[in-house]
Amino acid sequence: MKKTHIFGIIIIAIAVMIIIITAGDASTYVTFDQAKKMAKNGNNKKIHVVGQLKKDDMGQVLGILPSEDKLSVSFSMIDNEGIEQRVYFNEPMPPDLERSEQVVVIGSFKEDLFIADKILLKCPSKYQEEEINI
């Protein structure tokens, strides 16, 4: 075998390793139920859950509780299968949280609480809400 071939094989091996690492580190979109099961089985991987804030019939957001020192917040979120879950976020409440149409929380379960490391908010922005102001 020529050295060039060995070299090629090493490169392919590294590329395969990269793919394996990516697959291993990639997160998944799951529901709260699935996430809870994962946590019970000792899988602490951070996952994505998509859902909305809990609202009353009038569309008022319910259950946002900033901590006393305002430096963290917890809220109730309902995932796409209708399961309600308390989410804790160790950052001050994002100003746009209440306005959000859709929330993606990234994190994992700790006991019965979902600890979010990161929150992505989808807000009605100018792109969806094309209105003319007269």
Binding site: K2, K3, T4, F7, I11, I14, A15, I18, I19, I21, T22, D25, A26, S27, T28, Y29, V30, K45, K46, I47, H48, S67, E68, D69, K70, L71, S72, S74, Y88, N90, E91, P92, M93, P95, D96, R99, V104, I106, G107, K110, E111, D112, L113, D117, K118, L120, K122, C123, S125, K126, Y127, E129, E130, E131, I132, N133, I134
Partner: protein, 831 residues
């Protein structure tokens, strides 16, 4: 309504599209004949095309500049109060405008190429014009057989938006535009996109060279004239990326300059591959090897540029990224172009694969090119590692299309995910850049190696050990990267010194490598060793279920109440605004609002020293969206500085916070607000206290003095008769940095007592004089309190970030030196 300018614009787009096709056809014909007439036709068509594009740019800018809000593009991306330089950024905020910017640069590059391309003109300009036709079709905006081709920037607002007003009055023109995204209202956004797109655009030249070479079987001679273009493209693209990073650092609030966001990655990957391609092309120039690899990498660079265009503009990234464009329904068209160019390139490459010359030289670690080749390989692997996770949304889309449910998401913490792998590539690249230079310029033999490397290695290890001791870094990977970078700097500097004696023109490579190594050190320190200094263990347990506490990364500052943070004492001193045509920040409470929120009236004389800058009653202009929060940083040694983090409240885009950065030589202190108090106040029940005149009391935790009472001769809004009495109390409230005066009024009119309270909202204090007790020389005050103004703030320390910026400048110098050398080389025949 200004129909003419839009109609002309649309017409010019169509002309440009057709002439691009004609140019492509003529240049194609020209390659099949020795006669010059087709070439002349091609040139003529390309010039007309160029004039058309310039016209389109001009018309679109006229529409934006003159606030023609009957056009959707102006309405959607601009507004009447936007300064003219941000109207330039509004030009490329939308997809159509940014395509136009790209097309515009192609026009400029094409004209230059026609001038200097010589024998390569016809084939290269054929590929060039073909790409140009494709790009122009993206802004064509015509419907053929119910298929929409391109999206025109000249659509009227009423054609895009289905608002009832247009049925009543089709000639209705919106009063104001919906404005430019506040994040883009930054000077970097005026120069970052054009630079980036110039780099983007320039990748077409090496690509066209490669395709022409395959097509005309000139498989070797293309590399020499293509190198300077690749260097130019890599330099501008790199500069554009760094400008974007700097913009993110100054404007966004994720705490840094690089977030491994899919859009950032999409542009970083082609750049890495392009750098690799430059290295393989240089190997060819020296040793006549690596032609196949050069073909692959040059073509891959351009295809990756198209792929990144597809990623950012098709909407496929969706929520995965902060700055992807919105979908204009063009994803199909983009995908077709991407696949078409990929297929075209592959066909040419496979057809000619056997004909591309290869050498049978055995891989040899002592050869001149071995370490450069290794470096190029690492660059490609690094690019591969970035593009795979970035493409996860694409994999999901493909799998879902063929009926397989996929719920794959990007890694939860992208920064940790990418850096833990990329740091190893960075080490390798730094090391190989050092070795590569040694082997490139010197004849290496097995026995001599130790002699050559002894001195640089000793110097490197000495410096690294010193850094290790004094910086207290204890992470193994960090130490390795520092050592590798120092090695790269030492070896490249030694090559540079040797080279300078011989010929400075040859030193571009060493200079660029020193710059890259400096950048790596700057990145390691400012990102890897950055720390949140607003960290505090407040001791609050976030759930009673489990005992562990967690660090909070923000601190709460009430107005005028100092708080210790790290080595600093912080005081939030209140809201500030900026006034048009004035440099400083001014207290918001010194101004009164007017009907038009863009204008304010000064409540009092505003001085700087003895000079009155703004007199009482003057009207000034400001941007009502912006509020700045003055934070005073005091160090124990008496060093004081102020930071002004900003909140921009944009009615369409929501709240946007931007940091304020204290820049120093060795470290930056980066500060942004995360939350601010709401303006609405809820006042508490009145508390009554009796205070002697001259006495002190507490109001909302502040110490206050009732200094005296003054008789008032007149009172605004009240007619005072002879028998009426009005007095005002002067109450001084001691803040941390200044005193605040409240003047509650007590009056007796027609034998009735009247009370006019005074309040300071920021401090949350409202004082009323309830009763005057003359015999005791005291008064009864009513005190209401409310939540004081506060901000929640995050502060991050960024050491040695300037080394990163310095490294960037050095890399650019290196590129420039190489570019000059390689351009001069073109006209010198090879030996």
């Amino acid at each position: 309504m200004h129909y003419l300018v839009g109609d002309l614009g649309h017409l010019f787009v169509i002309i440009s599209f057709i002439t691009a096709l004609i140019a492509a056809f003529s240049y194609f014909k020209s390659t099949r004949t020795d006669n010059d007439s087709w070439k002349k036709n091609g040139r003529f068509a390309f010039y007309i095309h160029s004039a058309g594009i310039l016209g389109v740019v001009l018309f679109l800018y006229i529409i934006i500049y003159n606030d023609y809000f009957e056009y959707h593009y102006a309405w959607n991306h601009s507004s009447k109060y936007l300064p003219f330089y941000y109207k330039i950024s509004a030009f490329w905020e939308g997809q159509e405008g940014s395509f136009l910017l790209w097309i515009f640069w192609h026009v400029i590059l094409g004209i230059i190429f026609i001038r200097y391309g010589k024998t390569w003109e016809s084939p290269v300009m054929f590929v060039f014009s073909l790409v140009q036709a494709f790009l122009t079709s993206m802004i064509l905006g015509v419907v053929v057989l119910q298929i929409k081709i391109g999206s025109s920037p000249f659509l009227l607002t009423r054609e895009v938006i289905d608002a009832p007003i247009f049925q009543i009055n089709p000639d209705f023109i919106p009063e104001d535009g919906s404005g430019l995204n506040p994040l883009l209202q930054n000077y970097w956004m005026v120069i970052h996109p054009p630079t980036l797109f110039l780099g983007f655009a320039a990748t077409i030249v090496p690509f066209s060279f490669a395709i022409s070479a395959l097509w005309n079987k000139k498989l070797k001679s293309w590399i020499k004239p293509a190198i300077p273009w690749s260097l130019f493209s890599a330099a501008t693209l790199g500069l554009g990326i760094i400008m974007g990073a700097y913009w993110a650092y100054e404007t966004l609030n994720f705490g840094g300059y690089w977030n491994w966001d899919p859009v950032e990655n999409a542009i970083f990957v082609p750049w890495l591959v392009q750098i690799a391609s430059i290295h393989t092309m240089l190997i060819y120039r020296k040793n006549k090897t690596a032609i196949r690899l050069s073909f692959i990498l040059v073509i891959a660079t351009f295809l990756l540029v198209l792929y990144s265009t597809f990623l950012t503009r098709s909407g496929i990234l969706g929520d995965a990224s902060v700055h992807s464009f919105t979908d204009l329904g063009l994803s199909g068209q983009l995908l077709i172009y991407l696949l078409a160019f990929t297929a075209l390139s592959l066909i040419f490459l496979i057809k000619n694969w056997k004909a591309i010359p290869v050498t049978d030289k055995e891989v040899n670690a002592y050869s001149k090119e071995f370490w450069i080749f290794m470096g190029a390989t690492l660059l490609c692997l690094s690019a591969f590692q970035v593009i795979i996770p970035t493409s996860i949304p694409v994999f999901n889309a493909i799998l879902n299309n063929i009926g397989i449910e996929s719920n794959l998401a990007p890694p939860a913490d992208q920064i940790i995910f990418y850096t833990k792998i990329q740091i190893w590539f960075a080490m390798g690249i730094a090391t190989f850049s050092a070795l590569g230079q040694y082997f490139w310029w010197r004849r290496m033999e097995k026995g001599k190696i130790f002699n050559e490397f002894a001195i640089p290695l000793v110097i490197t290890l000495t410096i690294s050990i010193l850094i290790m001791i004094f910086s207290g870094i204890n992470r193994f990977t960090f130490l390795l990267l520092i050592t590798a970078s120092v090695f790269a700097i030492v070896s490249n500097l030694s090559t540079l010194i040797r080279m300078k004696r011989k010929n400075f023109n040859l030193s571009g490579g060493s200079i660029a490598h020193v710059g890259v190594a400096l950048m790596l050190i700057g990145i390691l320190y400012s990102s890897g060793l950055s720390n949140v200094i607003s960290l505090n263990r407040s001791g609050i347990i976030y759930s009673t279920n489990f005992p562990d506490e967690i660090n909070k990364e923000n601190i709460l500052l009430f107005q005028d109440q100092p708080k210790e943070m790290d080595n600093y004492r912080l005081i939030y001193t209140g809201k500030r605004i900026r006034i048009k045509d004035y440099r400083d920040f001014y207290r918001k409470d010194q101004f009164l609002p007017t009907q038009d929120s863009h204008f304010l009236i000064a409540k009092e004389d505003i001085r700087k020293g003895d000079i009155i800058l703004i007199a009482k009653g003057d009207t000034v202009e400001h941007n009502p969206e912006n509020t700045y929060f003055e934070v005073k940083y005091e160090k124990s040694k008496g060093e004081v500085f102020y930071l002004y983090p900003r909140l921009q409240e944009n009615p369409n885009m929501g709240n946007v916070v931007s940091p304020s950065i204290k820049k120093a030589i060795f470290r930056d202190i980066y500060t942004h607000v995360t939350v601010v108090a709401e303006d609405e106040k809820e006042w508490s029940e009145t508390e009554e206290i009796e205070v002697p005149i001259g006495g002190s009391f507490f109001a909302n935790d502040f110490v206050a003095f009732l200094e005296k009472f003054q008789r008032m001769d007149s009172l605004k809004g009240v007619d005072l008769n002879e028998n009426d009495v009005a007095v005002k109390g002067i109450v001084k409230i001691k803040g941390a940095t200044k005193d605040y005066i409240l003047e509650p009024v007590y009056l007796i009119k027609d034998n009735f007592a009247g009370r006019i309270p005074d309040e300071n909202k920021a401090l949350g204090v409202k004082i009323t004089v309830l009763k005057i007790i003359p015999d005791k020389n005291s008064v009864v005050l009513g005190i209401n309190t409310a939540q004081k103004d506060y901000i929640i703030l995050k502060a991050i320390d960024k050491p040695l970030i300037n080394v990163l910026w310095l490294g960037t400048i050095i890399v650019m110098i290196g590129f420039t030196v190489s570019m000059i050398r390689r351009s001069k080389e073109i006209s010198i025949p090879d030996r």
